[in-house]
């Protein structure tokens, strides 16, 4: 019985995001799903202790140029374990890929000109009486800094994953229901226990590489599917913890979590 409840809860955690994603993006969802699958493949290789598993990250910019920075950020976490030769090969491949991807990446990135933001910045600069002060505190880097900061913090917002970005949804975003809302409890427990988890290197590296690479994209919508696996795994750590506690805890949790998640799933399907 305990196992059945555990596996049902696990399936509910893992099924939500892909399900709502496919239902909302029937025509152009393949690339993003493939990108998430690349991470799944990498995870299998990592668990099998395959030494060169990180080479799978090089597939991501090939799938979509917007993922160009993922392999660059992710490799930093394996820096100390990588042999020089494989690092050189990795770098050569990456440079080769970026030669083809750079322009497309730029078109998707936060570095593309934004006339409205530029006008506001100019207005701000003109309001500061001292030009040198204006240059130090408000300059052109503000445009990228603000977007980057906003993107990173959106990716770090629990409401993004458990409440479809409510209460302040992003206008140009699909604001998908990515996980059952009660899974936020599991996520928080998982996040706290992550530091002791054996999985922490893979989860943290893919999560941060995902967050920082898509933070460079103007609109993260759909691209954030790359974060699905690490976040689901963090929830899984929390779920495992609950099921190691005394019976009352996991029974109470499951009593609330299962019916509410099924209702939510039904909402996604019937909408």
């Amino acid at each position: 019985m305990k196992n059945l409840i555990f596996w049902t809860s696990t399936i509910l955690i893992f099924v939500f995001w892909p399900f709502s994603f496919v239902l909302s993006n029937r025509s152009d969802s393949v690339i993003f799903i493939l990108a998430a699958l690349v991470l799944l493949v990498d995870r299998f290789l990592y668990l099998r202790k395959y030494q060169y598993h990180y080479f799978t990250y090089l597939v991501l910019p090939l799938l979509h140029p917007a993922y160009l920075f993922f392999p660059i950020v992710a490799i930093l976490f394996y820096w100390s374990d990588i042999k020089k030769m494989s690092l050189v090969i990795y770098a050569v491949f990456l440079i080769f890929i970026s030669l083809f991807s750079w322009q497309s990446f730029y078109a998707y990135s936060i570095f593309t000109p934004d006339p409205l933001a530029f006008d506001t910045l100019n207005k701000k600069i003109s309001l500061i009486p001292n030009r040198n002060l204006a240059r130090i505190f408000h300059n052109k880097t503000d445009l990228f800094q603000d977007k980057f900061k906003s993107n990173v913090l959106t990716s770090l917002d629990p409401n993004n994953y458990f409440f479809a970005l409510h209460p302040r949804e992003i206008f140009e975003n699909q604001n998908l229901h990515k996980f059952p809302f009660l899974a936020i409890v599991l996520f928080l427990i998982g996040l706290y226990l992550l530091i002791k988890s054996q999985d922490r290197l893979w989860i943290v590296s893919t999560l941060l590489a995902g967050i920082f690479s898509i933070a460079l994209i103007n609109n993260q919508d759909k691209f954030d599917l790359i974060l699905y696996l690490p976040i689901a795994l963090i929830c899984l750590i929390g779920l495992r913890k609950i099921f190691t506690l005394c019976q009352a805890y996991y029974l109470i949790f499951s009593f609330l979590f299962l019916p509410l998640s099924i209702i939510e799933l039904a909402r996604i399907i019937f909408r």
Binding site: L127, L133, N159, I263, F270
Partner: protein, 557 residues
Amino acid sequence: MKFSHKYLPTILILFAFLIGAFFRFYKLGETPIGLYVDEASLGYNAYSVYKTGLDEYGKSFPVMFRSFSTFQSPIYSYLLIPVIHFLDLSIFSVRLPSALFGVLTIPLIYLLVRQLAPRTKYFAPISAFLLAISPWHINYSRTAYEANVALFFLLLGSLFLLNALKKSWFFLPAALSFVISMMAYRAEIIIVPLLVITFALRFSGTILAESKRYALPIFISLVLAFVIFFPTLQIMGTPGFQARSSVLNIFATSGQRPWGVGEGQGLVHAFTNNPQILAIREFLSLYSSYLSPRYMFSLGDSGPRLPYPGMGTFFVWQFPLYLIGLYFLIKEKQLKELTFFIFTFLLASPIPAALTRDPYSTLRSLPLVIPQILIISFGLVKLWELLPSLSSKMKYLVVIFAVSFSSVRMFISIFYFNDYFNSKFWNYGWETVAKEIKELDPRLPVVVDSSRGDSYILMMFFLKYDPSLYQRDNFEVSPAEYYTSLTRKESKNLGNITIKSIVWGPDTDETEQFLVADYLAMSEVQIDAHNLTIIKEIPFPDGKVALRILKTNPKRK
């Protein structure tokens, strides 16, 4: 011990007080430019009570002040009476209590942290310093909001309560402070009982073990609190008291609802869109937004007057400190009192705000600034300890750079950007209108448009209109129905000035009079079409027209 190390905490707290006072008092009457109607209402009602003993509606010393179709907590208006006595009615005087209590909160947080964590030398002054430069706290200290006064008394009550276990008679000032806090702002009506119950549960063992010592002070404190709060309790069931919350709360049936409530029919819809479940979901969603880094460090409040342009409620460099602080507060076991206090405050403070639909309302969740500042400060203290390899000079340099850079950025945002970008939300221009109206031909009547807001209160405020005359000429509700009838009078009369929605034709073409309206009510096309003469245009700081004073020309038409 070096001299600088010995006196650094004292220097830091003094500096925190000075910089806190600077950010709260500098250009207080000038920035934000203009006056929000709620501020004007607080100020004018205090003026009215001071002059006549009655508020604008003719009610004698109300328990809650009627403000348009809602009610304001009374403490702020009563605090304003002595201020108005000495400084007269002005933007500065109306904002003064908020700024004053804002500054006084800085040493209060210092004392509180000293009480909770006496062994940590720098934690208390750092907390005070970070509160002194908190954009969130400064924002509410520079404007007349009751929430800021309530926060001060909430902290004061907490300080007394924490000391009450040592000196049992401190339960009395604790109760008094908590009741004032509850009467100063409504969110505290939910927060204070939660804090007190949690405190009682936490220290129930100590209290029960020494029941003889604590029984009498606790009993007297509870009676005192009940007696003072009784008038508020009496009106809590009235439509007036509930007017705002009944519309704003997440269980209200009116207005747009998220996630498809009421958008469909049938069994499947009833199953998947159960209103109660969706309300719980909405509550959790709103609640979690108050703890979310996206709102804290980037988005800030969604209200038009908040936050300062380009700023969140906290500085972005404080984000890693927030995470570090949270982690170590959970992990470290020796700071039980501190952890208990911070987490009780952290978890209780967003509840009233999360029960309303507005996303991330920094006003209703103002007490949250305290635990979040404490977490960030604790994070800084821990980070300092975690980085032994860096020299002290380097650490000081990094912190001084971060604090100075963000303080200057905030200064620019408050004193240069805010007035330029947000002046229309602060009703800019009405002070000039009040001055100009006095110069107009007194034989002609003046009609002031009120179709977009309660401009009458701004006119009364800036004209310092005699409250007894206003009460005589503008009957709106009898004192008996003060809290129950929410009907409003469409037009107000201030001598030869009538404040109402301008009616095209009768008001613009048939009578010779002056009109006052904003740029939306009176466009250039309409001015031409109705043959109106522009007497005066009052521009916003960005040069666009804010308000116009016009004269009708019925004969020429």
